[in-house]
Symmetry: C2
Subunit: 145 residues, 2 copies
DNA sequence: GATTTATAGTTACTTTTAGTAACCTAAATC
DNA sequence: GATTTAGGTTACTAAAAGTAACTATAAATC
């Protein structure tokens, strides 16, 4: 695809720029289509660093205020917890109840759908727990070999 | 850890530097402890953009060569697929079989443990499929309100 | 015999995302 | 009147992901 840089710019070259633009459009469209795949959509949304952990924390503790949740998870930053909770709220997994008090009080809770997601997360977590020894020994082997 | 360069270094300043170091050690230790949590460990490892999708693709197709897997996933870059597969191999979810041929041939397959992970991923995917309409409508509501 | 093709990478670079530190609000307490 | 509190936001830095170009090598093609 790379052109020799010291050639005269011709009409043909301008046309190839047009072609490149068209190709980019087609690729972008293809990308959007693949994004419509439901599995991919949801997996990408909850496959970030904090979503499942937040869901698990809320699920096991019921209602939690922001800082309590933050403390529960431990090493999440304030900003990332805010971002994560907004996303989970947007998707309908978490409900957010604001009390008009000072200092502010905001309570987070799983919705019914959030409870469903937690069931899934719990199964994953259970399975992770049972497999961890095997995973750790596999990691050690990999580093040696 | 940078010191102001144009101040006189006093004993008091050295002490505060020491304190900072100690605090950092404590924080690092706390972080490591939280990282020992098995659920967190495994979830963080597979909660990247391509791990679950790779597992699902390998699970539904059996053995796949690198480019076939890449094509199957669609919009993953070569580099990220390599990185993802190395991680999955390291954790013992995926096996990698190299044939000494030219052009090179490398076959990827789920291990038994990988199949277990796929079961989990499948359940998550199934659930995601059933919930998607509710999720999408929740997103629309969120944008409006 | 030079050129092209194929596959599974790696390397260097750019862009996007996550994480950190400092700040804001406004009533209650010391 | 300075400090504490809870739940943020903003501006900045570090890390992760993505892109483009390159590698190796034998067989097939011109």
């Amino acid at each position: 695809m790379s052109k020799p840089s010291n050639t005269v710019v011709t009409i043909a070259e301008n046309e190839s720029v047009e072609e490149e633009k068209n190709l980019k459009l087609i690729l972008d469209r293809a990308k959007d289509q693949s994004k419509l795949c439901p599995v991919r959509d949801v997996i990408h949304r909850i496959s970030d660093k904090w979503s499942l952990l937040s869901i698990l924390a809320l699920g096991t503790h019921g209602t939690l205020r922001f800082n309590a949740l933050k403390k529960e998870i431990g090493d999440v930053s304030q900003r990332m917890l805010t971002v994560t909770l907004r996303n989970l709220e947007e998707d309908g997994f978490v409900s957010r109840k604001i009390y008009a008090e000072v200092p502010p009080r905001v309570e987070y809770q799983l919705t019914d759908m959030g409870q469903g997601l937690m069931q899934q997360a719990l199964q994953l977590a259970d399975w992770a727990n049972t497999q961890l020894p095997a995973i750790i020994s596999s990691r050690k082997k990999f580093k040696k070999g």
